[in-house]
Symmetry: C2
């Protein structure tokens, strides 16, 4: 029987492509046995074929995507280049030429997933993207299949390992943001330009992908409200800890009155919650469904090994379908839903406010909050600077809408006794 | 287009069958939309059709399995009767008659899964059993598909909610076994005859099923070494806690030198491990693979809702295959592997020993352990009974084989200064 031909787009050593190549080489015979046909890697698309690459057969290297597409023996294209361009174009052309595609590309899937899935359906092929969220943690497939009987009510996730590593360091070592970032960069967990991670852009891509599957709605990453972690101070973690909470960069989404509420924000989460205990570079995704209750999926969210695990699972699944002559099933239709303005969502809040250390300040702040019907749950005066005659108040509120809080904060900021509103963070649950 | 016909075997209200019926009724239209064809429940097999059942159409009730099989409009048989007989027979006959089968039956799948999967393959139909392990937690499908690229090195799981609820109570409330069992029975978490739960039989069924998928080996529940939880005393939890450990009924399996080591045992697990934090009726399954590292799946392991979530996911999956005309892929071949005797496995151990409170006792015990090349990691004298002139020693060891330890324990038991060997438990990791 004919082999099943693969083409790999992207192969930087030490990166995802390198992880796929290493795993494929180590377990090639086992994979072929699982599939019942020999898997044959026929092409590796690289930018510069003259760069020497250990363990990569030079004869497979190519810089010409068209030549790869022209090979009729290629059945599955594996895209691990990353970035929007030219990956999106290559994926689309591979699908349109009747090739199945397996991708790890969160940016392309978040921005163009719906269109590309439609292209795949039109051409009778599959587009699989388990590796695009949560590294090796199975989550795309469980949402697509195993939790399908549920009305999914909420997605709550830690899906950026870089920031979770930094926040874990800030929580345990009492280091500030700049030190945590420097350490993450030193260890290779953070990029030289850390924007995509620390501003929640990466997590927003992944959350948009999860929303499409969980709620069967079309979600753009622009629909996700974002707040980065750079405003967090070491003392926010101390204060949260004193209140019984951890601070995590939580990606959360739910359908509310038929509209979507989705955000990536540093969030206080009670230390008894499973997500509060997810530390270091680990990722975890919690799904709430009407039947299943809460299920949690946890593991390493990045790295060549975990990502290769997800990519090769998709490859084996497609390859088994090819061998069995199985055609793809129809995709589940996605609905367009309105996106709620961030201010509509109700949450409890943590406020850190620096005030003049004098009588009556708290009365004025609580008066302003009360005028907006925001109830105070607790107030703790944590630190006093005797020289500056200031004190730091940490206020937690009961449920309030974001817009009510914003209006109140504007009034509080205008008080002459308020030096600074240091941080405002939602509290989960 | 013709409907997709379903038959449900078993429908006790408040039980799994009731959960399936309630979910099916509530979400019938959504399910049919996902599938692209109307799902039609045509028969419900019950023992006594004259029992009134709220919300169950009396016209669907039947006590005659043959009559159900004779209906050519039945495409999928859902088995939620539980127990080995007659469920196994019904599943086999449904498969042989060309019907797809979805089952929640851990006992049948653990004892007869390999044969029944072969029957399904022979007749070109699918046998799905996501609900048989971990309730609504996706684990069968992730092992079958999402982690398939990995060489799975270990399965470590808390897969019996009854005992986990009891152990959590014993750990936090300092109640003893009998009180914990009485409370679990009062709340309906434990059966009047709790044997299957507290002796680890239920967990051994589930572990045998997981081993088949994780290692592609044929495993019988008899291959799983079992130790129940009835020997645990409240003070074991206090002592473990002082050492930094929780005690959980862990189901563990790994391949070692080409042979299987599988056990269900109360086990000390360090409190920093994710599984140590899985409390109450929650279940959690940790899979270790060469690519993915450790991934954890956690959720409610029982109950009508979670179990219905898993069963209906399988039903939707089969139904979508029927609509697309997709034939099953070939099952992955399972190998026969030898089962290691329990004594071969190396572990660290926790020993609680009651001894005469006099000099030289520890020297004699450590001498015996040393003779068997078992190194002591720590010794703590926890409690002394001055009237009886006894003391309680808690000894933890470094890695030792079970057989070396058994030999040493026989010698220790024979010492005239040793009153009792209270408990011997493995320590994970």
């Amino acid at each position: 029987m004919a082999n099943i031909g693969l083409a790999l787009l992207g192969a930087r050593p030490g990166n995802v492509g390198g992880g796929v190549l290493a795993a494929f080489e180590a377990a090639h015979d086992r994979y072929s046995a699982h599939v019942g046909r020999t898997l044959e890697l026929r092409h590796i698309l690289v930018r510069d074929a003259s760069t020497p690459r250990a363990g990569v057969p030079a004869a497979l290297l190519s810089t010409d995507f068209d030549a790869i597409l022209a090979d009729p023996e290629v059945h599955i294209v594996i895209e691990v280049m990353g970035g929007e361009t030219p990956a999106r174009d290559y994926i689309e052309r591979a699908l349109a030429s009747g090739r199945h595609v397996v991708t790890a590309n969160k940016e392309v899937m978040a921005k163009h997933g719906a269109d590309l899935l439609a292209t795949a359906a039109k051409h009778g092929v599959r587009l699989l993207y388990e590796a695009s969220v949560g590294g090796g943690i199975p989550i795309i497939s469980p949402l697509s299949r195993d939790l399908l009987a549920n009305d999914i009510t909420a997605v709550t996730a830690i899906i950026n390992g870089t920031t979770n590593y930094m926040l874990t360091g800030m929580a345990s070592g009492h280091v500030d943001y700049a030190d945590a970032l420097a350490e993450a960069q030193r260890l290779g967990y953070a990029e030289p330009d850390p924007t995509a991670d620390v501003e929640g852009i990466d997590a927003a891509y992944k959350l948009a992908i999860l929303c499409g599957l969980a709620f069967h709605v079309a979600v753009s990453p622009d629909d996700v409200a974002r707040q980065g972690i750079s405003s967090l101070a070491a003392r926010d973690f101390r204060y949260a800890d004193a209140l019984g909470y951890a601070i995590k960069l939580l990606a959360t989404a739910r359908l509310l009155d038929g509209g979507l509420v989705a955000s990536v924000q540093p969030t206080l989460i009670h230390r008894d919650e499973p997500l509060a205990k997810v530390d270091g570079v680990l990722n975890a995704i919690q799904i709430e469904g009407d039947l299943v209750g809460r299920v949690l999926f946890q593991g390493r969210g990045a790295g060549p090994g975990p990502t290769a695990s997800a990519i090769l699972a998709d490859v084996l699944d497609v390859a088994r379908d090819i061998v069995a002559g199985r055609q793809p099933t129809e995709a589940i239709q996605r609905r367009a839903v309105p996106v709620h303005a961030p201010g509509v969502h109700r949450s409890r809040y943590y406020l850190r406010v620096t005030v003049a250390d004098q009588p009556g300040v708290l009365a004025r702040i609580s008066g302003i909050l009360g005028d907006r019907e925001i109830s105070i749950a607790s107030v703790i005066q944590f630190e006093t600077d005797e020289d500056a005659r200031t004190a730091e108040l940490v206020i937690t509120t009961h449920q309030a809408t974001g817009s009510a809080l914003d209006t109140a904060l504007a009034d509080i900021r205008a008080l002459d006794t308020v030096t600074e509103i240091g941080n405002v963070l939602p509290m989960a649950g």
